[in-house]
């Protein structure tokens, strides 16, 4: 115990000599450098290259004459159907985020609040399981379930032999379903962390004051877990708006989203400039949305 007591006693005492020799900022820089160097090399520089590409008239890898142009950014004017694609993409992202928020919050609530003891860890692992399965396998397994005559129909026909097919593969709800499945764990985990931090006595206080369960949910738990809900929404909304695998596999003919269009520009049409321009337009839209709600976000983050 005396050794422990000595350390904070005086900044000039022996225990602090080593750290005193090296200024604090050196350690900070040394710790941050690898991460920032990697981010610069692997993300920022390619992003800059893509940004530069988006102002070119064609992919600078063929024999074509390449010139500087702003025409790629006029895509919504030159190809008006892209507006519809963008709106559908946004709606799919909003629906997915909303679905994740509702399901994820309730699941996190059950995990954090119920007296589950040791089984809580197992349940948490089950929730993270989608992260550990290959994305393609996960999505294709949904096609097995959702196609007409698939698993869903088999179950229905087991109970009601003459039932019509309720398989809804190749629809937008199918896309949302697949996306929710893939991204739900983010929401469960962020909400779980926020909810587990709420003291039981807070809820008991609300009960003692006469609150029913929905009052506790909407007036106490949701506001107090708002930082977790918000970070979950951000974590989900951003990747979902650019997702292309779920729309392509589960959406079929209706699965044309910003994500698939961008992917097509790179892999099929070989029109990197248009793909880059669309990516940056999407980034701008996402940033604009967050800027609009930043007041709300900041208020809740500090709560």
């Amino acid at each position: 115990m005396p050794a422990e007591g000595n350390v904070p006693a005086s900044p000039r005492s022996g225990g602090n000599a080593a750290t005193a020799a090296m200024p604090k900022w050196v350690a900070t820089v040394a710790l941050l450098l690898p991460t920032y160097a990697w981010l610069t090399l692997a993300i920022f520089l390619p992003l800059c290259a893509m940004f530069a590409f988006s102002f070119l008239s064609a992919t600078p890898m063929g024999n074509e004459q390449v010139s500087f142009t702003l025409q790629q950014y006029a895509v919504f004017q030159t190809q008006p159907y892209m507006i519809e694609v963008a709106i559908w993409s946004l709606m799919i992202a909003v629906a997915t985020t909303l679905g994740c928020a509702i399901l994820g919050f309730l699941a996190a609530l059950a995990l954090a609040r119920a007296g589950l003891g040791r089984s809580r860890q197992i349940l948490l692992i089950l929730i993270v399981l989608p992260f550990w399965t290959n994305q393609l396998i996960r999505i294709f397994s949904w096609t097995m379930v959702l196609r007409s005559g698939g698993f869903l129909d088999s179950v229905l026909h087991f109970f009601w032999a003459g039932a019509p097919s309720i398989g809804f593969l190749y629809t937008r709800p199918a896309i949302v379903l697949g996306l929710i499945h893939g991204y739900l764990p983010y929401m469960v985990l962020t909400c779980y962390i926020a909810l587990i931090a709420i003291d039981d006595e807070i809820i008991e206080a609300a009960m003692s004051l006469g609150a029913r369960w929905w009052t506790i949910l909407f007036k106490v738990l949701v506001p107090m877990a708002m930082p977790g809900l918000v970070s979950g929404c951000v974590l989900i909304f951003v990747p979902v708006i650019g997702a292309f695998m779920e729309p392509r596999i589960l959406g079929g003919p209706v699965g044309v989203t910003l994500g698939t269009v961008i992917e097509d520009q790179f892999t099929q049409a070989f029109n990197w400039p248009l793909g880059s321009a669309l990516s940056f337009i999407m980034l701008a839209v996402v940033l604009a949305i967050f800027a609009t709600f930043s007041g709300v976000l900041r208020r809740n983050a500090s709560a």
């Binding site: 003291d199 006595e201 807070i202 008991e204 206080a205 609300a206 009960m207 003692s208 004051l209 006469g210 609150a211 029913r212 009052t215 007036k219 106490v220 506001p223 107090m224 708002m226 709560a303």
Partner: protein, 353 residues
């Protein structure tokens, strides 16, 4: 008039009994302390009254109504928690108004009640503040205001002062008694601090291992503890054991101890308790007067604390004794000195061992 009644309540957690057959009642407007060490079941009893814990069997009635199967929210209780449990995302007004809104009281009627409650806890201008901007004592007051603003049938306090430092704690004790008197609320106060229990409440119930050992007015329980546990837990006590003969206790070394109370019949074993502050130290050996006990002992330790002294002594038969003395007459005794302890037979209380 009885306001809260607990009848033959028992509670087990797993195989461990926490409360065994508790029966007690709390009079209208009374301030009762449930006092006991941790694990004695005092908090469980409070939580059963509040409704957070369902008893295995037995009944709880609040305000004359059986509430054994009534959910917490419908019991009309006010509760103050150890951690205060203020809602961090609401300001003081919203915190205090939470219970009112649940009762359909909003707008100007609610504002009046909130203002009056905050005035009662002496925080009239704090309504717009967030709990984060308050000190520990202020949070405590807001929690109290929130609990009393709904005019509950019973006010339940779960060790509300234990998180405060000593000075603030004493200040809040005074406030708590004042607020309780002013509001006239039946109050049940859980604490492990015996001084707090004695000075705040008009009734004390001592719990040990799931049972109420003794209850009564603080002075009653302090002056006449019935068991060794009660005598030890509520204050300090010196114990002396011997055999009963001629309505006195004969210690092993032959010295006789008189008591002002009934003793078991001759030949039986008996133990008495004497409070350390009831004993006086004298030098030499005076002839004992009637109704007085004397015992010679050797001083083994002296703690000098300015106005008061604590002596540890050893009796002839080897028992350790404690004496609290005011620093009043002459010089303090020295370690190793042989002295005589004098105390009244009326202060010698027979206890169940």
């Amino acid at each position: 008039m009885t306001n809260v009644e607990v009848k033959t309540v028992a509670k087990h957690y797993g195989g461990t009994p926490v409360l065994t057959d508790i029966t007690c009642h709390f009079a209208e407007g009374s301030f009762t302390s449930l006092l006991g060490p941790s694990g004695s079941g005092k908090t469980t009893l409070l939580r059963i009254i509040a409704g957070f814990v369902a008893p295995d069997h037995g009944n709880v009635a609040i305000g004359g109504k059986d509430v054994t199967h009534t959910p917490v929210r419908a019991r009309n209780i006010g509760m103050v928690f150890q951690s205060y449990a203020l809602f961090p995302h609401m300001n003081v007004n919203q915190n205090v108004g939470f219970g009112l809104a649940r009762r359909g009281i909003r707008g100007s009627a609610a504002r009046d009640k909130i203002a009056r409650a905050l005035e009662m806890v002496r925080l009239p201008d704090f309504g717009a503040r967030s709990p984060k901007q308050l000190s520990g004592g202020q949070r405590q007051r807001v929690a109290l205001a929130r609990a009393i603003v709904t005019e509950p049938t019973v006010l339940l306090l779960d060790e509300p002062l234990s998180a405060l430092d000593r000075r603030l704690r004493q200040e809040m004790q005074v406030e708590l008694v004042r607020i309780q008197r002013e509001s006239g609320l039946t109050t049940i106060f859980v604490t492990h601090d015996q001084e707090e229990a004695l000075s705040l409440s008009d009734r004390v119930a001592i719990l040990d291992r799931g049972e109420i050992i003794q209850s009564g007015r603080p002075a009653e329980v302090y002056e006449r503890p019935r068991t060794r546990f009660a005598a030890e837990f509520l204050g300090d006590s010196n114990f002396m054991s011997g055999t009963v003969r001629d309505r006195t206790i004969v210690l092993e070394d032959g010295q006789r101890i008189a008591t002002g109370f009934d003793l078991p019949s001759d030949g039986e074993h008996a133990t008495v308790a004497v409070r350390p502050e009831k004993m006086t130290i004298i030098g030499g050996h005076d002839p004992a007067s009637d109704g007085e006990n004397q015992l010679s002992a050797r001083v083994t330790n002296v703690i000098y604390a300015g106005p008061a002294l604590t002596y540890t002594l050893q009796g002839v038969d080897g028992t350790t004794l404690k004496v609290f003395a005011q620093n009043r007459d002459g010089r303090p005794r020295e370690t190793g000195e042989t002295v005589t302890l004098v105390w009244k037979a009326a202060d010698t209380v027979p206890i169940e061992a």
